[in-house]
């Protein structure tokens, strides 16, 4: 067994610990909308617009935002499941899809877990077939793929003898999500994108899966991108947090800085929208009114200005750049950009 050459060895670190595992530069995705006579383009959904961020080795980057903010598009772009309109993704310093890092090789290194645990499993495959499928496609012998599947079942806390031969419909939602996690780990990836992995689960099961994710991260030396609409879960899981609004980064930085001293008014409003767990501290006023606008033809300038309490005329003209904020994060708000023309902008440091 040991003598056999491992066709799917653990993946090597290339750039060293200082090199970000994932670098996203100017990533943009626009979907043209067709309608009108003979299908002229009548509008553009700016799903993701000029996105820049890094994911460091061994960290968990949380991505939060409401519907239409582009978090799912972002994950699909990072997974190279769709082609970007502009921009590029670098993995450990290498351009994804370039000569050094072809897509097939990249997809071994990055795996994804989705919200819907049932839809992401082939109903006609047994659990061990599902988990062993990708390793087999990548050249592992069937016997070894099955053995790996059983090891992974044990790693996600399911008894292999009991579960290996079952089918997805025989399992509960929490068990299926464990299977999905095991399947994502089958190729020994370095980066796992978790897209709302616990949103469909009950609270008691959610806690089990979150604990499991923390354990696996330590055990396999993983890096996570954790996408969720639940701010408490993101706070619990993440080292750094990226807040998205209508396809752009509103704020990004260490979890402590963002949750303690949000620099972007949208982040502050989002945090203040969490129901209080204390009946004596009930909210009295909603932090924001209305729904997030439609990403088709979004507002000009700062996209948040239509709902922002601090908006001034300059906000509808100038697109705020991502700028360092006092607590250590970066925010794209004219109120943190010196001399931006906003009355609350800081003085230019001497």
């Amino acid at each position: 067994m040991k003598a056999r050459k491992d066709v799917l060895p653990p993946l090597p670190d290339i750039g060293g610990p200082a090199q970000p595992l994932l670098t996203v530069r100017g990533l943009t995705k626009h979907f043209p909308l067709k309608s009108g006579f003979l299908g002229r383009a009548s509008g553009v959904v700016q799903a993701v617009d000029d996105l820049n961020f890094e994911v460091r080795k061994g960290e968990t980057l949380g991505i939060v935002g409401e519907s239409g903010c582009g978090k799912s598009t972002t994950s699909r772009l990072v997974m190279a499941l769709m082609a970007p309109t502009a921009g590029e993704v670098l993995f450990d310093g290498q351009v994804v899809g370039g000569r050094e890092l072809p897509l097939k090789e990249y997809r071994r290194q990055v795996q994804m877990v989705f919200q819907d645990s049932y839809a992401s499993l082939n109903p006609r495959l047994t659990i061990e077939e599902s988990i062993g499928f990708a390793p087999e496609v990548h050249g592992l012998a069937r016997k070894d793929a099955r053995a790996r599947a059983r090891d992974l079942l044990a790693a996600v806390g399911l008894n292999p003898d009991q579960f290996a031969r079952r089918y997805p419909h025989e399992l509960s939602g929490g068990q299926r999500q464990r299977i999905n996690i095991a399947r994502a780990l089958a190729l020994r990836p370095r980066l796992v994108i978790l897209d709302e992995p616990v949103s469909a689960l009950d609270k008691s099961v959610e806690a089990q899966v979150l604990n499991l994710l923390q354990d696996l991260k330590a055990q396999f030396g993983l890096t996570y991108i954790f996408i969720s609409h639940d701010l408490n879960v993101v706070q619990y899981m993440s080292d750094r947090v990226l807040v998205m609004y209508l396809g752009r980064v509103a704020e990004v930085g260490p979890v402590g800085a963002i949750y303690a001293a949000a620099a972007h008014p949208y982040t502050a409003a989002l945090l203040a929208s969490r129901p209080s767990m204390d009946p004596d501290l009930r909210r009295t006023e909603p932090p924001l009114t209305g729904d997030p606008p439609n990403p088709i033809n979004p507002p000009s300038g700062c996209r948040f200005h239509t709902r922002c309490a601090f908006a001034e005329p300059v906000c509808s003209i100038t697109v705020p750049p991502l700028h360092p904020a006092p607590a250590g994060q970066s925010a794209s708000c004219l109120m943190v950009v010196p001399e931006s023309g906003h009355s609350r902008a800081p003085e230019l440091a001497a």
């Binding site: 409401e66 519907s67 979150l210 009946p279 009295t284 006023e285 909603p286 932090p287 997030p292």
Partner: protein, 324 residues
């Protein structure tokens, strides 16, 4: 003594099919006073939605067996004919649902869906009902209400759809509003708006409200009292503060402990091992016993009675002390 708005005693709901009988609700009893708000907290399959629907006999008609006593606003719901129920629904008691996209008819305008309820119960003319629909859209704070009357559900955002749903439910000034996870499908900044709107409308209109949710935060924002459901039973009931600060039942403690909130970073989450029981058989004894860390012999022979250490707060657990 006047009768409470809702009076439920030993409610049982069974779903019967050829393959199996599911005992979804097993002996639920509670009262709700006028203007009071109760939150039923539980995980999927606990029977919380089924209980809620039983209050207006809205579970699937031919498969559902109801027994026990359910009185709402003085009406006997279990004995009522379908015809009588149709008069009660929408006027005395009405309901809002989790997913406003599927709960609204896609091919009728919002205005029409509100107006038809008013016309049905209050016999208003089409014109008067349309005028009422406009007032209601303004009441639930839908901007450009007049234009929105002619909108179809798919033309509205999620938050506006849920507001329209609330407008329909409130159109005939019900005494009791039932809400089945009304904010679960909404974005965070919209969820809080809807919760605050419901709280304000409840105060203004003086309704009793029963919320069903799996979200402790929602309960904390809106409830006067909370009941925790497990395997078709209320296992704990009490005032919102007492229950959220010092839950009595091990399951309620586990549920609160498993809920992620700020300040838990770096700590390991407490979990409840195992899974809820299969309700094709009514569990003998305490249904939570197989998952409970404190299980003892007294838990098994029969379902523990409610024990109440402080007034108004009680749990079905043998370990809870009974105040004299």
């Amino acid at each position: 003594m006047t009768e409470p708005l809702v009076h439920v005693r030993n409610l049982n709901v069974r779903f019967v099919s050829r393959d199996a009988t599911v005992h979804a609700v097993n002996g639920v009893s509670f009262d709700l006073a006028e203007r009071e708000s109760l939150c039923i907290l539980g995980e999927s399959g606990s029977g919380k939605s089924v209980t809620l629907r039983a209050l207006m006999a809205l579970n699937p008609p031919r498969r559902t067996q109801l027994s026990g006593t359910v009185r709402v606003g003085g009406h006997d719901i279990i004995a009522a004919s379908e015809r009588k129920m149709a008069d009660i629904r929408g006027s005395t008691v009405s309901m809002i649902f989790q997913e406003p996209m599927t709960a609204l008819d896609p091919v009728f305008t919002i205005g029409r869906q509100i107006a038809e309820t008013v016309m049905r119960h209050e016999g208003l003319s089409r014109g008067a009902a349309d005028a009422r629909a406009l007032e209601l859209l303004e009441l639930v704070q839908i901007p450009s209400a007049k234009r929105r009357l002619a909108a179809y559900p798919h033309e509205l955002s999620g938050g506006l759809r849920q507001r329209a749903m609330i407008a329909i439910a409130l159109s005939c000034r019900p005494r009791l509003l039932l809400a089945d996870e009304p904010t679960t499908a909404l974005d965070a900044t919209v969820q809080i708006q809807i919760l605050l709107l419901l709280r304000r409308l409840q105060e203004e209109m003086g309704m009793g409200v029963i919320f069903v949710t799996h979200d402790l935060g929602v309960a904390g924002e809106i409830a006067d009292r909370v009941a925790v459901m497990y395997a078709g039973k209320f296992i704990e009931e009490g005032p919102v503060r007492g229950l959220m600060r010092s839950p009595l039942h091990p399951y309620a403690q586990g549920l609160l402990g498993a809920t992620v909130h700020s300040g838990l970073r770096g700590e390991r989450l407490t979990t409840i091992p195992g899974a809820p029981p299969n309700l094709e058989r009514v569990p003998q004894g305490c249904a939570f016993a197989p998952r409970c860390a404190h299980v003892e012999e007294a838990c098994l022979p029969r379902v523990p009675e409610f024990r109440s250490p402080t007034p108004g707060h009680a749990a079905r657990c043998v370990r809870v002390p009974q105040a004299a």
